[in-house]
């Protein structure tokens, strides 16, 4: 991250960075060098907008991200997947328990630590059926930390037309450092 020195220095650093971005963009394409801009929304995949760095560098440098309490562990993963990846969850306590284990990319992970759920409801004003997500921060036996969620609430959303329960889909959405 750029340090903020005096105004000239800042401009100078900016110039260097811009030049770097331009060089890389020339190689691999402007759209593939991105900066991230925070979006004011609860929906995780929309909370960050990737925008071409060549045009949005200034905005990115001035962007304000949601404050984080230093003493608290992060509520959001460092790496967020573009698309949540499905995981297999054999068993989780109803209505809001985390799984004891899950399988992702064919590897089985045993959950030893859990925090959650953080319940994020979707934006009801958008089209399409959307389910409420219960997110869990889980740590497996190897110390890897995942951000997983169950898509839909039992008892109210995970039902078919006749009111019979349907099984929930689980996903991993990101990884903590």
């Amino acid at each position: 991250m750029q340090e903020q020195r005096d105004l000239d220095a800042h401009v100078h650093d900016n110039d260097e960075l811009s030049a770097l971005i331009d060089r890389i963009a020339a190689r691999i394409g402007g759209k593939r060098v991105v900066v991230h801009l925070p979006q004011d929304t609860h929906i995780p995949e929309r909370a960050v907008l990737a925008a071409p760095a060549q045009h949005h560098l200034a905005a990115a440098m001035q962007a304000e991200w949601p404050a984080r309490t230093e003493s608290e562990p992060p509520l959001r993963p460092l790496r967020l997947f573009d698309r949540p990846e499905p995981i297999k969850v054999p068993f989780a306590t109803v209505p809001d328990g985390a799984p004891h284990q899950f399988t992702w990319r064919r590897a089985l992970h045993a959950v030893v630590r859990v925090e959650g759920p953080e319940r994020i409801a979707m934006e009801w004003w958008r089209e399409g059926k959307q389910l409420t997500r219960d997110y869990f921060r889980v740590e497996d036996a190897e110390g890897l930390r995942f951000w997983i969620f169950r898509d839909g609430l039992y008892d109210s959303e995970l039902m078919d037309e006749e009111g019979k329960p349907v099984p929930a889909n689980w996903y991993v959405h990101g990884l903590f450092a």
Binding site: E72, L75, D96, E115, P117, R119, A121
Partner: protein, 1159 residues
């Protein structure tokens, strides 16, 4: 598992405006359904919603009544986190009210705006005794600060201190709860579980989100994380709360311990009547009786028959038994004050059923003339305090209101509130905006609703707006708007209802500032006050009383006859003749189109006929299909019959007794009640419930449950089922508009008196009406037109003769001439004598020596009680030193003062002698007011422009002097009459020189268009084309879709009927045209009520432009007339419950807009 009991103490209702997503009543029901034993409603800095919740406990559908805890969430301005405050007992509740009052009224130094509440932490500490306090903390909090607050709370005199904890699925719930627990232990306070409830059911989340958008003034796309992330803040079951808090079961148990400590319920608000009106040494009842018999002396010379004597005794006995004497005395006291100031007033409503009220001078319905139904007013069964509304002259009502404040003091008297709810229009507008719909879309949706009070929109209405009901955003908007309807938006002061207490009012309910200076009002509305049996006095305003008083004063001054309300000769056949002809423009209550049409059909000949006329032409009776049967029976077209029950069940005449005065058709509210009691054997409570459900339009839904009972009982007693059903339908049709007979009688008095004035003194009547504007149905143009038609000469505004008010000038003819006053000029500054009098009264009280009693001060005021008041008028305005700052407001008086010194001979004279600003001169010139100086409008304007500006800079004085052109310059071209007329309409909204249509007549005649007067009975069934200026567009509440229009030309007016199909096709023309051409056929009734049924309509507004064309550039695009559609006879606008809507009244319509590019 045994579910532990749980009390939810952190509920926010929609009385935390734009924050809570559910009505207090919804929570009561939901608590019952979910088995929650106690709920606490704690709205943001207010107790406005608690009475609603309290009343709802009585609803039979609430099977498991929760204990209702009364509290408030104090939101501070000094950064202290929110604290829930619940009162243990009555005394603590009084303190809570005082705390909130302090926040809303502040001290005398800083004024707190209406709706705001400024409280600091120390304020809470001051009123902490007896309160249960729960500190709530935001998601992220500072433990140190929280500890500090808790410590201070513990050190106060509070009953107890808790730390509220909620688990809202924020991801770090457990961690945070552990922190709170830690904090609680350190502070030595228990944890208290709550779900920080915002709505009663998770389905309300979208609406609550929309409320947030409205509150934050942004759209749903932009609001971001100010919204809640999930839908968890609903009223949860005890089982679920216990599960959430399974690691801290004590927090759950604590809620019940909390609830049990609270002893206070609204039952404990024991109301006390104020003592003032009772002279020392007497009891209230004793004084009342003395006044009663004194009144008998005054009104009847002590000579009354046995029946009346018996009635008075009966009433007094009941009043004594129910201990209501104070109430009558309080109202009498106010009325007495008004009379002493020569303010006309009259009681209305059910109080007119009381003979005691008549002899006290509160009402003017002579008990010997009308059958009184005292039970309608007070009954043992009802146990409600009597409801006496008094109408005062609208222009002087403020004086009366200030008197009430002075007499009782601001800590014991305050106005009640009106809750301004979301109506369909405002709901769809705000929701649409929040959802990001464009303005024209929301406007289109809002416009289709026509200002109606119905519930929500249907697909047809959406389509009518030109929108697709299947568009998801549109249907979402409509759905949410429907949910939002009936939500409170804010509180406003009631039109004139006061609450008065003996002890401090601010220990019953919080009091806050109104928008108007010097006004305070309580947080509860009329229904709330009634529910708690508090005394309410309605000080209402009636324009017609002002008008009548002004007429009486004018007649006294110019004709030397002094009349009062009670001395006008009754039963004059000539007056009734006039009404039978339908000549009722300006007459109280019967001047609308519908009434005018009804008069020739009903043909009133007696006072009681007027009572019926007043009651009958309203949406209720029309919707209930009572009007036509009544008319048919009255005209002998239908036989009058009275169905009976089977002989074994009852007296065959039981309905005859109820309905014979109205030919067997129920027309009055009391009759509906009587039918329920006599024919359907309702108990008094049930009849009361029926009456209530009829009395408020909001309760229209509840009347259904009485349906089965009424019909069922009647059929069981042998009535014909069809008849029983039609009875119920008629009663349902009353809705909120059925008139009580006594109310109609009070109004009928005024109908008669205003008719009498119109017939015998059309000059004074015209003048009085003009001087009492805004009031009534018609614009000045029609009032003047009507007067001229009746032989009254009306004279133009003129600087040499006019005053601020319209005045009379003696003539040799039968009637005086009406001289139009300066007040008719739009934009002219004149002092309202009634406002000035009020200010004088107020300032003399502010300067009064401390300890002076209100009475002693008033005696020294002009017109004070013993000052030998001059009969002709209100206390004369003293010329208290009106400083220079009044020049701006006092143009009219300057003109009068100047011409009293020396008559005006030229415009320069005038300008110099009056010292008026140029603005004023231009207005006068443009209003053609300089004719007596030999200048018509064009010449006057020209000269005015040559005058130097108001304060010429010395440097330029010489220059301007030189620039004044030669006096002998070429004369100006004469302004043609059409332009004069147009200019008249633009400045004073009427013209004595002609009508715009007359200049277009030749053109229209060439097009074979007839005049309005030709739309007459004689031309029945002819097809014609008629054109005229659009005066009024109306849509009656009952007939769906049909629109009535009134056109005017130089020959008179024509009534046009536009059926829905035609309306659909010509909507734009109907809504927008100022001048319209209608093709259709004439339809006339046997009583000669004539309409033009429209088949084609053409907008001819552009023809109006052609009339005005001159160098001074009056030409401007004639914009569409305001889309104003009035409900026929819609007195909901004036209903005590209904907030004033921003509908433009027909009388305010501009036929021609003012010229814009003027200076």
């Amino acid at each position: 598992m045994n579910t532990p009991a749980y009390a939810e103490i952190g509920i926010t209702t929609n009385f935390s405006f734009l924050r809570g997503g559910s009505d207090p009543r919804a929570y009561v029901h939901q608590a019952s359904i979910l088995g929650i034993p106690a709920i606490g409603i704690a709205d943001h800095n207010t107790l406005a919603g608690i009475v609603r919740a309290y009343k709802e406990l009585d609803n039979a559908e609430v099977l498991h009544k929760p204990k209702l805890l009364i509290g408030a969430r104090i939101v501070f301005i000094d950064g202290t986190p929110d604290i829930l405050v619940y009162s243990r007992d009555r005394a603590a509740y009084g303190r809570l009210c005082q705390l909130l009052t302090k926040g809303k009224r502040g001290d005398d130094i800083t004024r707190i705006e209406k709706g705001e509440c400024h409280l600091g932490f120390d304020d809470l500490l001051e009123y902490a005794e007896g309160q249960l306090l729960a500190l709530t903390l935001p998601h992220r909090f500072e433990p140190a600060k929280a500890l500090e607050v808790l410590a201070k709370l513990k050190a106060s005199r509070a009953e107890g201190v808790w730390l509220a904890a909620s688990l809202l699925y924020r991801g770090d719930d457990r961690r945070r709860l552990a922190q709170l627990d830690d904090l609680a232990t350190k502070a030595d306070v228990p944890l208290l579980a709550t779900n920080e409830v915002l709505y009663h059911h998770p389905a309300r989340r979208p609406l609550q989100d929309v409320l947030t958008c409205i509150r934050e003034k942004t759209t749903i796309e932009a609001i971001g994380r100010k919204l809640e992330a999930n839908a968890e803040r609903f009223l949860k079951t005890p089982r679920e709360m216990a599960r959430l808090f399974r690691d801290f079961p004590d927090a759950i148990a604590e809620t019940m311990r909390f609830a049990r400590k609270i002893d206070f319920s609204l039952d404990q608000l024991k109301y006390q009547y104020p003592d003032e009106p009772v002279p020392p040494g007497k009891t209230a009842q004793g004084h009342l009786e003395d006044l009663t018999w004194a009144g008998v002396q005054k009104y009847f010379g002590g000579n009354i028959d046995d029946k009346l004597r018996a009635t008075l005794h009966k009433e007094l006995a009941l009043i004594a038994e129910l201990k209501y004497a104070h109430y009558f005395l309080t109202v009498h006291d106010i009325v007495h004050y008004a009379r002493s100031q020569n303010i006309l007033c009259q009681g209305r409503g059910s109080a007119a059923n009381s003979a005691v009220c008549y002899v006290l001078g509160i009402t003017s319905v002579d008990p010997t003339k009308v059958d009184l139904l005292f039970e309608r007013f007070i009954s043992k069964e009802r146990l409600e305090p009597p409801d006496i509304d008094v109408d005062f002259e609208h222009s002087r009502r403020e004086e009366v209101m200030q008197y009430v404040y002075r007499r009782y003091g601001r800590h014991r008297a305050a106005i009640i509130a009106t809750v301004i709810h979301y109506r369909p229009r405002s709901a769809i507008r705000d929701v649409g905006k929040a959802l990001g719909l464009t303005e024209d879309v929301t406007a289109a949706l809002a416009d289709t609703v026509w200002g109606s009070w119905g519930k929500g929109l249907n697909d047809m209405q959406v389509k009518q707006a030109g929108l697709d009901p299947n568009n998801p955003m549109i249907s979402l908007a409509v759905e949410l708007a429907t949910e939002l309807i009936e939500f409170p938006r804010h509180l406003s002061q009631h039109v004139g209802g006061y609450v008065l207490t003996q002890d401090r009012l601010d220990t019953y309910v919080p009091i806050g500032n109104a928008a108007m200076d010097d006004r305070t009002f309580i947080e509860w509305d009329k229904d709330d006050v009634d529910a708690l049996n508090m005394m309410k006095v309605d000080v209402l305003a009636l324009g017609m009383l002002t008008c009548i008083r002004k007429c009486f004063d004018l007649i006294d001054k110019h004709k030397g006859e002094r009349w009062v309300l009670a001395s006008v000769p009754q039963d004059d056949p000539k007056v009734y003749d006039m009404l039978c002809r339908g000549e009722s423009l300006g007459v109280f209550q019967v001047e609308s189109r519908a009434q005018m049409n009804m008069l020739p059909r009903l043909k009133p000949r007696t006072f009681y006929d007027l009572v019926i006329e007043v009651a009958i032409v309203r949406p209720g009776p029309i919707q209930g299909d009572m009007v036509h049967p009544y008319l048919r029976r009255r005209n002998g077209q239908e036989q009058v019959s009275y169905p009976s029950p089977s002989p074994e069940h009852g007296d065959k005449d039981e309905l005859y007794k109820v309905l014979h005065k109205t030919m067997g058709v129920p027309l009055f509210q009391e009759q509906a009640m009587r039918i329920a009691i006599e024919a359907a054997k309702f108990t008094p409570e049930e009849a009361n419930g029926l009456r209530r459900s009829m009395a408020t339009f909001r309760n229209v839904g509840t009347i259904g449950k009485y349906e089965d009972k009424l019909i069922g009982n009647m059929v069981a007693r042998g009535y014909d089922p069809d008849f029983a059903r039609s009875c119920f339908d008629q009663i349902k049709g009353f809705g909120s508009y059925g008139f009580p007979e006594s109310h109609a009688a009070s109004f009928a008095q005024l109908v008669y008196i205003s008719s009498w004035l119109k017939h015998y003194h059309p000059d004074a009547f015209c003048c009085g009406l003009l001087n009492s504007q805004p009031m009534g149905f018609y614009a000045p143009a029609q009032i003047v037109g009507d007067a001229r038609k009746n032989g009254v000469e009306v004279r133009d505004i003129d600087v040499s003769y006019s005053f601020a008010q319209n005045t009379l000038e003696n003539t040799d003819n039968k009637y005086c001439a009406v001289r139009l006053g300066f007040r008719q000029i739009d934009g002219f500054h004149w002092l309202d004598e009634d406002e000035e009098r009020l200010k004088q009264i107020q300032s003399s009280f502010r300067g009064a020596p401390k300890g002076a009693s209100p009475e002693s001060i008033e005696q020294h005021l002009p017109g004070g009680m013993d000052s030998g008041l001059a009969p002709s008028g209100a206390p004369p305005l003293r010329n208290c030193a009106m400083g220079n700052d009044n020049v701006e407001r006092d143009w009219a008086d300057r003109i009068v003062a100047a011409r009293n010194r020396r008559p005006f001979t030229s415009l320069e004279d005038f300008a110099r002698d009056t010292g008026l600003p140029k603005r004023a001169l231009i207005l006068l010139a443009d209003a053609d007011a300089f004719r007596s100086l030999g200048l018509d409008r064009r010449e006057a304007l020209w000269q005015v422009r040559r005058l130097p500006d108001d304060v010429p800079l010395p440097l330029f004085e010489a220059a301007t002097a030189r620039e004044q052109p030669d006096e002998h310059a070429k004369p100006l071209p004469v302004m043609p009459r059409p332009e004069q007329v147009v200019a008249d309409y633009q400045t004073i909204r009427l013209s004595l020189k002609g009508h715009p249509m007359e200049f277009l007549r030749e053109m229209f005649t060439r097009e074979r268009v007839v005049a309005c007067k030709d739309v007459s009975h004689e031309n029945e069934r002819r097809r014609v084309r008629c054109a005229g200026v659009v005066l009024v567009r109306q849509r009656p509440g009952s007939a769906s879709g049909v629109v009535f229009m009134t056109l005017e030309d130089e020959t008179g007016i024509a009534n046009v009927v536009v059926w829905p199909k035609i309306m659909e096709r010509y909507r734009k023309e109907v809504m927008g045209a100022r001048l319209i051409l209608v093709e259709g056929y004439i339809q006339s009734s046997p009583e000669k009520v004539t309409h033009l049924i429209a088949q084609r309509m053409i907008d001819r507004s552009h023809d109006l432009i052609g009339l005005a064309s001159d160098a001074l550039s009056r030409k401007h695009p004639v914009s569409a007339g305001a889309a104003l559609i009035e409900h026929l006879n819609d007195d909901r606008r004036d209903h005590a419950d209904s907030p004033a809507q921003r509908i433009r009244h027909p009388r305010d319509v501009r036929i021609l807009p003012p010229s814009r590019d003027f200076h």
